[in-house]
Symmetry: C2
Subunit: 437 residues, 2 copies
């Protein structure tokens, strides 16, 4: 316990920052015992000064750059979010020998390479457990617990806003707009919900998860992305009729190379879209603002991690766990694992990705429709798993669930269906989780 103090700077005093500071100050004896040295808060960078921030005023500063550069700061905790000025602040911190703990998924999804290099060059830590799935340990399990295994697949519900909206649509039969309004009024959706509902937030997390899982650098731009704003009450009802619900999934897969294709190597598919999830699947029961991540690895089999994916307390828990790790390394020597990109797998296009489709169409109710539709699937080498036909006021609806096929073949099939004489409209096309085997 004779070790010098470890100085901590916190950047940002929003929901997460406030909780980080509160816990750090109220449990200081525990932190000292767990780290082996006292953690001392040197300052908190805020946008504007003011009283009643729950922090002694002499700790507050608007000069984040100055705080980061202080000689008595050993670790910088960044919970501001966004790209600039945060990227510059973190690089400054790393380059001046300070370890960094961040919850910033948008920054990591695009700049992990740059930040990780800076950390490595300075022999300091860059920890970011809180960037994916809030309180749920996912980053550390992928980087450390599964470091001796081969991860094949990571599938997660990693955005609480969209999960709240889809859970509400499923439970109440409400449409998207009403459920979004409801989520907004309860504080689960922001005034501009684009980053959440269009899948950008989930795509950033998918990029981080895929990078860790496959030892390959994957950025947000590599992730195929569709949001939930086009999901209708009819989609949920149709999903329910085939024993499914709809979830926005972040999916990261190692796709086996095909012997008939040029390099034949395994490649990475990273994608975010709303998908039908069978009610028997562990992710189907993850409701509301909760998150869950399923990891499938060769030796471990299927693992699931479940918990609160957002909020001040849960995110602060992850941030503070990382802070303790970084501080222990400052006290006892050593550092956390570096970025691992040695596998350098190719990131493949969505068209080459094997998946399943759930196609909902309105058809004219007459003999021969089903066989014509089935023929189009067959022509494109797409095998059908389930067909469900129902009379409607204006004709009939036809739902086709396929077996696994290439996304490109499924797209071509749908395009062809739209030209069939008795198919009036392909109302919705959703993918479905699971191999169906």
């Amino acid at each position: 316990m004779a070790h010098r103090e470890i100085g901590v700077a916190v950047l940002g005093l929003g929901n997460v920052g406030s909780e980080v500071v509160r816990i750090l100050r109220s449990a200081s004896a525990d932190f000292e015992a767990r780290v082996g040295a006292p953690l001392v808060l040197r300052g908190v960078a805020v946008r504007s000064l003011g009283p009643d921030r729950g922090v002694p005023e002499d700790l507050l500063t608007t000069d984040a750059q100055g705080l980061v550069e202080r000689d008595d700061v050993d670790i910088v905790v960044e919970v501001i979010g966004g790209i600039e000025p945060v990227r510059t602040l973190i690089l400054t911190a790393l380059q001046s020998g300070k370890s960094v703990v961040t919850a910033n998924k948008a920054l990591l999804a695009d700049y992990t390479g740059e930040l990780a290099s800076a950390a490595k060059n300075a022999d300091v830590d860059l920890y970011f457990e809180a960037a994916v799935a809030g309180a749920i340990p996912v980053v550390r399990p992928l980087m450390q617990s599964l470091a001796g295994d081969r991860v094949d697949r990571v599938v997660g519900i990693v955005n609480g806003t969209t999960n709240y909206i889809l859970s509400a649509m499923d439970a109440t039969g409400a449409d998207y707009a009403d459920s979004l309004a409801d989520a907004r009024s309860l504080g689960y959706a922001e005034a501009d919900p684009t980053a959440d509902v269009e899948g950008y937030d989930a795509a950033a997390k998918a990029a981080i998860l895929a990078s860790l899982a496959f030892h390959t650098r994957v950025t947000a731009a590599d992730v195929y992305r569709e949001g939930i704003s086009a999901i209708t009450a009819a989609d949920l009802a149709s999903a329910r009729a085939v024993g499914c619900t709809v979830k926005l999934l972040a999916m990261c897969e190692r796709v086996p190379g095909r012997p008939d294709v040029a390099d034949g190597e395994d490649w990475v598919s990273a994608r975010v879209y709303p998908a039908l999830v069978p009610l028997t699947h562990p992710l189907a029961n993850v409701d509301g603002a909760f998150n869950a991540v399923v990891v499938e690895a060769e030796a471990a089999g299927r693992l699931m991690f479940y918990g609160q994916g957002a909020g001040g307390g849960p995110t602060a828990s992850s941030v503070l766990g990382d802070l303790v790790s970084a501080a222990r390394n400052k006290v006892h020597g050593g550092k956390g694992p570096d970025e691992s990109t040695y596998a350098g797998l190719r990131i493949g296009p969505m068209g080459d990705t094997p998946t399943r489709y759930h196609v909902f169409m309105e058809v004219t109710d007459r003999v021969g429709v089903l066989s014509a539709v089935a023929a189009e699937f067959s022509k494109h080498d797409v095998s059908i798993s389930v067909v469900r036909q129902e009379d409607t006021e204006v004709g009939a609806s036809l739902v086709v669930v396929t077996h696994m096929a290439l996304e490109s073949a499924l797209r071509d099939t749908v395009a062809a269906l739209e030209n069939l004489e008795y198919v009036n409209a392909v109302t919705s096309v959703l993918r479905m989780e699971g191999t169906g085997e």
Copy 2:
């Protein structure tokens, strides 16, 4: 990549050892890339030599002590199990500067203090993720991810054999003996199933989990323990009637100190017993040989970790993750977290533990029975939540589910019930998970 080789010795070549050796040899390029140096298998200690062990014969040895002492061994992986000679081998390894990775819950539950001291004195690592819940990362999340939080409670299904038996009893209505025989024939139960069905295995894991969660040394002897061999088909049916199933739970709780009691400090309750689990609880759906651990922490809220709790592959996955951590530390410096027992909380007796009871009794079907029974609960300050009365061939059965009360008060109530004139027998007493609020 210019680092010298890291020498690895494996002790034991059963289900787990074979998988560890197979993966280590088949994925050596991945291990080298992830560690920053080649991992080289120096030898495998077995009880008796023989061909067809899946390992080159020149790597096999019956001299475990000699293998552990070799100068070119940096890390020892122990997957033999049991106390001796393993305890001596691990102490020898640690004292001679080798890091140790073990899956040995029985050893750790009793000797963590001795082993952790030896590791600390020699400045080497002692990792044991595989000792609890097989492939599921639980040890690392508790020691690292939640190191900045306050854990209040850990509840887990950590024994696959008993979970298989109880799942089968629930699904088929079969009795305990038949379900045990079935588990044996499928390889889920050993010829002598005592360690599993009487809760000793789960108690060892509860000791490890409680130690990590509460920064307090807890050994197997500190864990209150009941097994499942007295559970009947009638218990499962009765549980179902109140919306529950029965699971063998390992429970570790920080119980808040009472202001009216002498020291008033929080204390630790660690216990293993079969309990009613409401079907709405996330642990209720963990079936068969799967394990799951729920952690409740102040800031993080409720987390759940789910996966395969046993078997060669899943256990090897955890062992190899630890091996990579230990090897990275050998290459890059630093070490994993030491044992943390600074909190030194008192471990309280079962009688002081707050819990809920589900009491099943046979009564004479006449006016006044219910009021007499209710009066006994009231007399002992135990509040009743649900009463269910049913006519049977010989009279009537009465089930009482209580609210939270002290275990000692519940015991006294049951003793008093047995002396009531119209209560013919108290057939079964089970605890119930959840606060009921």
